[in-house]
């Protein structure tokens, strides 16, 4: 085994191709994957699984967009089929893609590396998390095969408990298991950050990616159990025909909405906070400047986690909630803008006068900043009581949360995947295709969803199979944009897989980044570091001088 003292100079990437070195990817038996407790391998298991669900959710979205090309229902056989399609899209994308996306893949892979640990605190529970996810996911796929569900991903009562004759109870269990997989992940992250930081890795030397994941984990462990109880109560109501939420049997449907959104609003931050962590890593690296306002960004992650728990009522403005509660929830929702804006301003301030390079991860990051800002500002419009009465349940809401979830979370996920792909697999991706994909995603995304803001403002309701003919032009634009978006998503899927055909050749630190994860080899050895790293500096100690020789391809591009 050839071991190298891993410091910054050795990692600069001008060594001749090395003889075989032990890496976490060495074992390739089925057992070595299915019974692994290595956080890096579990990250890869998750990466594969969530990609499957991303494709399933994507097929559903494509079908919906094609159906909406014309005002009349013609592609799908019935409105019910359309209902099943958007429910499938929502359930697959939210519970099985977005919630686990960054934390369970990049987070799992990077969190121990970034804090200088050998693994998470509870590796077996980490593997159990993936199995929980797979149980939930298998149930979800079985539901698709046996007819699907038509309640929307929100499972609103009493429709879901008394009227829908689709597979709601299995869906409740699928969500329950997926929920516990994220509880296990969050629980592991919190303990690991508390107890397993390398010597010198103080709280305020933690990368902001870690702060974001810590905040995310708090939401996972405190919010998810409430969702678990809410869906279990739905199952009980359906199975026993007792009225917990059904007003016809004496129940209260608004109680379900409260319980559901108590998790599902904070879940928005489960989806977007890790993305903010990714952006906080990419922006300073490609601007060659220390991050501006480190502590503000760190604290704003925690602030978002806390505020996220006290704004759920803004989903209930027109549900019959007390007007005074509505006032309070509206005001609290405005407050969310403060920590969000702190982050956006700090990222832009970091870029100010930086030596910016527009490599693929940075293109995705810049896309994130712009689209997240649009998503956030329209969120303020929606949290305004009077405006929400007009916009509630229209395409404006659909556009708003896609700007946050896709323009925010998915762009950050793709940017992070490009940024750490050399670390995860030891391979570089083709930069030109990468830039093309970032561009296609950005343009396609805006073409898909900006028209929906206008559609919603003009009054087109969401979740409808047919629509008034005057909305057709904007709908066709949206569908056309979706095809560009699909092209942008498809590219990385192909070239990432294509990059695996050659043996690992990426340097340890292709971006000359400062994090601990870049100080070990690419791909890392099983135990992450040859020696426990000692941390002596603040994070993001970039200087414009270091830009010399900065080239992710270097002598490796010639392969």
């Amino acid at each position: 085994m050839s071991t190298t003292v891993l410091d910054q100079t050795a990692a600069a990437g001008h060594k001749p191709p090395k003889p075989h070195r032990e890496t976490y990817l060495d074992a390739w038996t089925v057992k070595s994957w299915l019974l692994t407790t290595d956080h890096k391998r579990i990250g890869i298991l998750y990466l594969i699984s969530i990609t499957v669900f991303f494709l399933i959710g994507g097929v559903a979205a494509t079908t919906m967009r094609l159906e909406l090309m014309t005002p009349k229902g013609d592609l799908l056989s019935s409105p019910d089929a359309y209902n099943r399609m958007f429910t499938l899209h929502g359930v697959a994308m939210i519970f099985f893609f977005l919630v686990p996306s960054i934390p369970a893949t990049l987070g799992n892979f990077l969190l121990p590396l970034m804090i200088g640990a050998r693994d998470l605190a509870f590796p077996i529970i980490n593997l159990m998390s993936w199995y929980m996810y797979m149980i939930g996911g298998s149930i979800a796929i079985a539901i698709i095969l046996f007819g699907g569900i038509d309640t929307g991903w929100t499972f609103y009562t009493p429709f879901s408990t008394m009227f829908s004759n689709t597979l709601v109870v299995p869906a409740a269990f699928a969500v329950f298991f997926a929920g516990f997989s994220s509880i296990f992940t969050g629980f592991n992250f919190i303990v690991t950050v508390h107890t397993m930081r390398a010597p010198g890795m103080t709280w305020f030397r933690l990368p902001l990616f870690i702060w974001a994941h810590y905040a995310t984990s708090l939401i996972m462990i405190l919010g998810t159990p409430v969702l678990a109880i809410a869906v279990m109560l739905i199952a009980v109501e359906r199975l026993l025909r007792v009225g917990i939420f059904d007003p016809a049997l004496g129940g209260d449907p608004i109680l379900f909405q409260h319980l559901f959104w108590f998790y599902s609003h904070p879940a928005v931050y489960i989806m977007v906070l890790p993305g903010m962590g990714v952006i906080s890593e990419i922006v300073p690296c490609f601007s060659r400047r220390p991050i501006f306002g480190y502590r503000f960004i760190a604290y704003s992650s925690i602030a978002l986690a806390i505020l996220g728990f006290i704004v759920w009522g803004h989903h209930l403005f027109v549900s019959g909630q007390s007007m005074y509660a509505g006032l309070v929830f509206s005001f609290l929702s405005f407050l969310v803008a403060v920590p969000s804006a702190i982050k956006v301003f700090n990222w832009t301030a970091t870029m100010h006068k930086g030596a910016i390079r527009f490599d693929t991860p940075m293109l995705y990051a810049i896309g994130f900043i712009g689209l997240f800002t649009v998503g956030g500002l329209t969120g303020i419009m929606l949290s305004t009581l009077a405006v929400d009465v007009h916009l509630h349940d229209t395409y404006f809401v659909v556009a708003h949360f896609h700007y946050v979830m896709v323009g925010g979370a998915v762009l950050a996920y793709l940017g992070g995947l490009h940024f750490w792909w050399p670390k995860i697999t030891g391979r570089m991706y083709p930069e030109m295709f990468g830039k093309l994909s970032a561009l296609a995603v950005f343009i396609g995304f805006n073409f898909t969803f900006f028209p929906q803001f206008i559609l919603g403002y003009l009054g087109m309701p969401r979740r409808y199979f047919e629509y008034a003919p005057e909305f057709q032009v904007l709908n066709v634009m949206s569908t056309a944009g979706a095809s560009v978006l699909a092209f942008g998503y498809g590219l990385p899927l192909i070239y990432f897989l294509w990059s695996l055909r050659k043996p690992p050749s990426a340097p340890a630190n292709p971006w000359q980044a400062t994090g601990l994860e870049w100080q070990t080899e690419s791909p890392p050895p099983t135990h992450n570091f040859e020696f426990t790293p000692k941390v002596e500096k603040a994070p993001y100690s970039y200087s414009p001088v270091a830009v010399e020789g900065f080239d992710g391809y270097g002598d490796h591009g010639s392969h």
Partner: protein, 237 residues
């Protein structure tokens, strides 16, 4: 590659001396701290898990106080009281077990763990008696729920909603069964610990493991301490 030979020299040396140190930890203290913190975080999740139910209960109790009080009178308060005493005593034996593990008294530890398990099983036995009685009195929602005959007059006379009396029992069964499932898991966990203590498997006397288990056990007791007054001690007309 074998985990013990890879990576950190200090860890490799450590795991040779202390066989129960998992590879990801540097030393026993880090491992103990992680275990105990892990259990506290898990309990935070559990609090929210029961919290959603307690909130639902509180809202319906507030909206329908008379129906809930009337329904609650069908529970056997004395069985609940006996069970409270049983569980509180089990917490005592559990606390003593933690102490025994810290002092390295292995025989005493095993006996105290067994005593805790017996008390937990007693609790489940009483619960089973109660559930059986409820079944014979037609109080199980979704199966055979009917307003008991002796309360029918009062329900009609005061215009109460029998569906809300059923709601009380829905929440009663959901919460007590969820609690019972936790208790069954806890008894199983103590059984494993008692066995491991008996065969002297714990290298460090098991103080940390028993403490982590104890935290979980006390949590189950505390849940019952909330459930008992909420469900059994509703007074008023």
């Amino acid at each position: 590659m074998d985990t013990a030979t890879m990576g950190h020299t200090d860890a490799a040396a450590g795991s040779a001396l202390i066989p129960l140190l998992s590879h990801q930890f540097d030393d026993v203290e880090q491992q103990s701290y992680s275990s105990i913190l892990g259990m506290w975080i898990f309990l935070a999740t559990e609090v929210m898990f029961f919290g959603g139910l307690l909130t639902s209960f509180g809202i319906y109790r507030y909206l329908h106080p008379h129906e809930f009080a009337l329904a609650s009178h069908n529970l056997y308060m004395w069985w609940g009281f006996v069970n409270t005493i049983v569980l509180l005593t089990s917490s005592l034996t559990m606390a003593l077990a933690v102490r025994a593990s810290q002092l390295g008294r292995r025989t005493e530890l095993v006996r105290l763990l067994l005593a805790t398990m017996v008390l937990g099983t007693c609790f489940l036995g009483v619960k089973a008696i109660e559930y059986t009685t409820d079944y014979h009195e037609h109080l199980i929602p979704g199966l055979n729920f009917e307003v008991p005959e002796h309360q029918l007059g009062e329900v009609v006379e005061r215009g109460l909603d029998p569906r809300m009396m059923q709601m009380f029992f829905v929440l009663y069964f959901f919460m007590t069964m969820l609690h019972a499932i936790h208790l069954i898991i806890g008894i199983g966990m103590l059984g494993v610990m008692a066995y491991l203590a008996h065969i002297n498997w714990f290298s460090g006397g098991g103080a940390v493991q028993i403490e982590v288990g104890g935290l979980y056990w006390h949590f189950i007791d505390i849940v019952w301490v909330f459930l008992f007054p909420l469900l059994y001690l509703i007074s008023g007309k």
